[in-house]
Amino acid sequence: MLRMFKFLKPYWISVLAVIALLFVQAMSELSLPNYMSDIVNVGIQQGGVENAVPQAVRTSQMEKLTMFMTGEERQLVLGAYTLVDQSSPDYSRLVKRYPLLESEAVYVLNDLTAEQIDTLNPVIGKALLIVSTIDNLAANPEKATAMAGQFGFDLSKLPPGTDAFSLLKSLPAEQFAAMKSAIDQKFASIDNSMITQSAAAAVRAEYVAVGGSEASLQTAYVLRIGGIMLLFTLLIAVCVILISLLSSRIAAGVARDMRREVFTKVESFSKTEFEGFSTASLITRSTNDITQIQGMIVMSLRMVFFAPMMGIGAIIRAVQNSPSMTWIIGLGVVVLLSLIVTVFSIALPKFQRVQKLIDRLNLVTRENLSGLMVIRAFNTQKFELERFDKANQDLTGNMLFIGRVMVTVSPLMTFIMSGLQLLIIWVGGHLVANSVIQVGDMMAFLQYAMHVVFSFLMISLMFIILPRAFVSLRRVSEVLEVEPAIKDPEHPKTFDERLRGQVEFRNVSFRYPGAEENVLCNISFTARPGETTAIIGSTGSGKSTVVNLIPRFFDVTEGSVLVDGRDVREVSQSDLRDRIGYIPQRGMLFSGTVESNLRYADENATPEELQKAVEIAQASEFIAGMEGGMSAPISQGGTNVSGGQKQRLAIARALVKKPPIYIFDDALSALDFKTDAALRRALKKETENSTMIIVTQRVSTIRNAEQIIVIDEGQIVGKGTHNELMDTCETYREMVSSQLSREELIS
């Protein structure tokens, strides 16, 4: 399994880049909620006023404000502002912003750092609040009475028209100090953002008072924060696009590499390894499984890193934000996880059955289709309908259950999330009331809590999805881990050119890897050029295995197979196979044309050579009848030609190669007697000097062979000509008598 990581190795830079980008994305995503709430809170609600420090203050107002400050504070505030009048160097610039400058001097805020603003904020905010409250009260005397107790001073008792501030100024120092301390006490429990929020109106009023435009203040703020927000979304978009680009390339690249390796590996397999898997399974492993893995890579690149990053990031922020509510997140996660666990423990068995039930339905349908004639012949349509119905019902029932689980879980989950929000607002509300946190904090917490819960959801889903993908991974690595048993020797020898096609078996035994018994036992014979050697035996006797040893589809377990005096294991496989024309049991064609199939044996064959091969193979007639003749299309697996035609083309293909050795692996049985006979007659003339090895069960095919080898249960039980064997070999006699009737034997 670990070796799978080697496929990611060429892409490590990209993978690291993806992780880095994911980090940037996660951080941006997490900061986005703040900006969004800023737009609403500050931009809309506070009219764009971010803090309680006005950009410009009238001199009269500044005088009022400083009244409620300590000496220290007063110094701090006055230091932060510059009194600008018509003589000031910045006048021409500032007058545009604050038209009031034309008539009087104005305090304009210096360029300050964020920390400096933070220090000023409570000081000015407090003063602004007091001043605006007094202004307010002065305007509404009836309210003032109500608040008299709090201020220790009843403004309503002022005679109308009296300026409250000049009155306050004239108060005795102790009384004023007492009043101030009462106010300070009041403010002690209120935090900065609350002061800002409350003072926002006063700040805005001051801004208007100095001649500024309220709307432009707001627009400027929204534009600024909106700009930042858009920058972040743009950053996120760029990140996601880059991540998408990189991860698509990584996944497609890994899939491509994996596919190539698997394919190349399988192509190098000998028959032994190949048969260890079924063909269908090998196909699935090199196609579907890898596609699955590709999907998994994309998903894990995006989710495996992102979900924990978001989760942890959100937890950190949430805890920083309001540690006292962390337990709600914990609760949410626990509730959701237990829901998921419960649902999956209920639904998982049903999920696992889905594929089986679909397969079952497909199986029954396939059987219905392939058995059309039998079903109708036996009048079992009704029985088949019931069988189908059973499969259909099982599948439907199962899907119904899964569907119900799904439609139940989905609203439940939404509800849990919503409930969590309500809980946060309720608990948070109380915390706000006790001044532990602020409303803004609660809102932010809400967002973070959702992020955390979603991350956990993602992570738990990954635990469900990833194991399935690992199955594919394992299946692919199983193929890659197989070492082909048949390899070329390090120093391959070449063939002795004097001997053209002699095949010799020397005490050959063979057993399949892991099998208990030998398939072949002590086989010895020699097939000579110019002769036909026939190997006959019943199904399962091992006769095909014998000829599979010659082109090294398998390696012998004991003894040796020699071609032209060389052990087949001493020469290169390609050298060896160049000398052999092999015709398999089932005519196997590739998609293309008739010609491309013939040329598979020899790309440089002349048209005459092709024509000749076709004639010998008794295929010229039907090829001529096909539309396009030699260039007629052949579909995959040769499904558009009949079995006999396929077989003849396979024979023609081998003939094009003109090898010294021909192997007919039970290749003639699909032909009718007549074609079989004609073919052999033509073949005999053409291949006079070649070694012919014919595997068959049909006695008539090989009656005239120079040498007949009778195999039974993996052993040679007879060797000789037809007539010799009729005298000496009981097995052969049995075989002959079952196939030819007595009269023919005599004739």
Binding site: P33, M36, G47, A146, M194, A215, T219, L223, M229, T233, I236, I241, I243, S244, S248, A252, R256, R260, T264, T279, S286, G295, I358, N362, T365, R366, E367, N368, L372, M373, V374, R376, A377, F378, N379, T380, L385, R404, M406, V407, T414, L422, W426, V432, A433, M442, M443, F454, L461, T539, R577, Y582, F590, Q636, G637, G644, F673, K674, R698, M735
Partner: protein, 632 residues
């Protein structure tokens, strides 16, 4: 205040648990459904109205579903707005605390709001639950019904239909196409409803707040549409390319693996790998491009959405300054914008989903409307027993009406006679079988059983008189006992065992792991082709027919089994009229009559001696196997 409830608006589709992937779906899995596309129904309107008619019995269910889905969606839209009031109250409390006026925090009020919203959410969840439950039931019923109808249809279609249609196609209708329709009903429908309602509801809410702001927001729509169009068009191209090349790669893999031995024998390894690499590299290019393009959708749509968010905040501020809108309304508006952009992508999917569904439904309906077998005769003969006298009277037949292959065939076969059908490979020997058992109807003349035209019987009644053993031994996935019983479903276990004994297969069955209870499946490897054929003989024995049709084994059966099969067939043929597709000379010579076929037509008939004397096609065929002897 703020966007307390923005995550409420997660449309149902983004529910974290996705149902199991549809089987046979796009192999790449990655890109969302919309990008698959490329599939269109020929007659979208017609198919859709057919589908609607098909769904008519469930119309009340659908009405309830729509109402509940609408209600659930509306509640989710309204929820955040009410929830906003709770935050407002909280805020007022804070303000009161600061200014010292008022009564402080109104927790009773806040609690009431929370309870109200909680109640709304419960009702909404309840509605979506009921709605989902009903829809699930309906779609499962429809799926089940479709499948059932298809399976019934298979049994009513004439064999002719399957000559030109491959099994995979029919199979794909049963599973993939039906599944596509069911998925649309089950999921896409809720999605479509909730997306449309969300969009409409939000639109209404936005309009009620400010039409100017809504107008500005609506600029997002064409912007998104243009973008979605662009992406879909580009990615569809690559997606199709990817599918094509995936097909090529898979095809090459399949071909090379199934021809592994040939590839090896002809040293084709290098060529094969080269070809593979070429295809694989092209696949890589289109694979990452299509994946990448489909990944673009989300971030860009997000960006466009945020653009709208900021734009309406600015505009809202400006309007608020003019006193044309309140601050609270802007807040609500901004929240709605967030939920307005989300369903757009989904709605963009709708037409694709519907197209796919229509294409799938069309294939299903097409299949269901295929021409069926000719109806049975209204007053059929129902003889309990027949003698087995068969007569062919000037029979004319062609698989395609315009291409007659059997031109004028007559033969009179007495009860108990053995008829051998011979001819070279591909001569059409099974045609006779198909005509006799009325798998195909002849185009001229008549086939008579006991003097009655076979069309006067019901198909069932006719086929009841026949027993059939074909070379391609069809068995199904069940125990051996059940497979033999297939010949007569009412037979007892004892009958089955007796039939197995007659077919000389009892001993063999008893050597198998579970004996008669052994389940036969595709992986069953310890039963050879010949042994399977013995089982089919036993099956025919059990059906005890009057007329037999046998296909003799040729190759791939070992000698000993062949002897057994021969014996079994001989005892089966005893006293029955038999048609034997013959390969063995002894059968042919012992036949009462030989029908010689070539190129689909019956070219000669007569006994072995007659035909040899004639010196025609048969004589030629017969002698060919001895010709070799003459050469030497």
């Amino acid at each position: 205040m703020t966007h307390a409830g923005s995550s409420q608006f997660q449309p149902r589709s983004s529910s974290p648990i996705q149902p199991p992937a549809r089987p046979g779906g796009g192999p790449m899995g990655g890109p969302p459904g919309m990008l698959r596309g490329g599939e269109k129904a020929h007659d979208f309107k017609g198919t859709m109205s057919k589908l609607l008619r098909y769904l008519a019995p469930y119309k009340w269910s659908f009405v309830i579903v729509v109402i509940f889905a609408v209600a659930a969606t509306i509640f989710t839209i309204v929820g955040p707005k009410i929830l906003g009031k709770a935050t407002t109250k909280l805020f007022e409390g804070v303000m009161a605390q600061i200014s010292g006026t008022g009564s402080g925090f109104d927790f009773v009020g806040i609690g009431n709001i929370l309870l109200l919203v909680g109640g709304l959410y419960i009702v909404s969840a309840g509605f979506s639950l009921i709605q989902g439950w009903i829809l699930n039931n309906v779609s499962m019923k429809v799926t089940y019904g479709f499948r059932k109808e298809i399976s019934e249809k298979i049994n009513r279609l004439p064999l002719r239909y399957f000559d030109s249609t491959n099994q995979g196609e029919v199979l794909s209708r049963v599973t993939n196409d039906v599944d596509t329709v069911s998925q649309t009903l089950n999921q896409s429908m809720t999605q479509i409803i909730s997306s449309v309602i969300t969009m409409l509801g939000v639109l209404v809410m936005m309009l009620s707040i400010s039409w100017i702001m809504t107008l500005i927001t609506l600029i997002i729509l064409p912007l998104s549409t243009i973008f979605i169009r662009f992406i879909v068009k580009r990615s569809q191209k690559y997606f199709k390319q990817q599918q094509d090349y995936l097909g090529h790669v898979n095809g090459h893999v399949e071909e090379m693996f199934s021809g592994h031995i040939v590839m090896k024998a002809f040293n084709g390894e290098k060529r094969s790998v080269e070809e593979f690499n070429k295809l694989n590299n092209t696949l890589y290019g289109s694979a990452w491009k299509s994946q990448f393009l489909s990944g673009l959708m989300m971030p860009v749509m997000n960006f466009i959405g945020n653009l709208g968010y900021v734009a309406s905040a600015i505009l809202g501020g400006w309007l608020a300054f003019r006193g044309m809108i309140t601050v609270g309304d802007i807040q609500a508006f901004i929240q709605y914008i967030r939920s307005f952009t989300q369903p757009i992508t989904q709605i963009a999917n709708i037409s694709n989903t519907l197209q796919q569904t229509a294409a799938a439904a069309e294939r299903v309906f097409e299949f269901l409307q295929e021409e069926e077998e000719l109806p049975e005769t209204p007053n059929p003969l129902l003889p309990t027993t027949v003698s087995g006298h068969v007569e062919f009277r000037h029979v004319r037949f062609g698989y395609l009406p315009e291409k007659t292959i059997i031109k004028d065939f007559s033969a009179d076969i007495q009860p108990g006679q053995k008829i051998a059908i011979v001819g070279p490979t591909g001569a059409g020997k099974t045609t006779m079988v198909k005509l006799l058992m009325r798998f195909y109807d002849i185009q001229g003349g008549a086939i008579l059983l006991d003097g009655h035209d076979i069309r006067e019987f019901t198909r069932e009644g006719l086929r009841d008189k026949f027993g059939m053993v074909l070379q391609d031994a069809w068995l199904y996935n069940a125990s051996i006992m059940e497979n033999i019983r297939y010949g007569n479903l009412n037979a007892s276990d004892e009958d089955v065992i007796r039939a197995a004994k007659t077919a000389n297969v009892d001993h063999f069955i008893r050597t198998l792991p579970d004996g008669y209870n052994m389940i036969l499946d595709e992986e069953t490897s310890n039963i050879s082709q010949g042994q399977k054929q013995l089982l089919t003989i036993a099956r025919a024995v059990l059906s005890d027919p009057k007329i037999l049709i046998l296909d003799e084994a040729t190759s791939s059966v070992d000698t000993r089994t062949e002897v057994l099969i021969q014996k079994a067939m001989d005892s089966l043929m005893h006293n029955r009229t038999s048609f034997i597709i013959a390969h063995r000379l002894s059968t042919i010579r012992n036949a009462d009559r030989i029908l010689v076929m070539n190129n689909g037509d019956i070219v000669e008939q007569g006994s072995h001696e007659e035909l040899l004397a004639k010196g025609g096609f048969y004589a030629n065929l017969y002698n060919s196997q001895f010709e070799e002897a003459d050469l030497y």
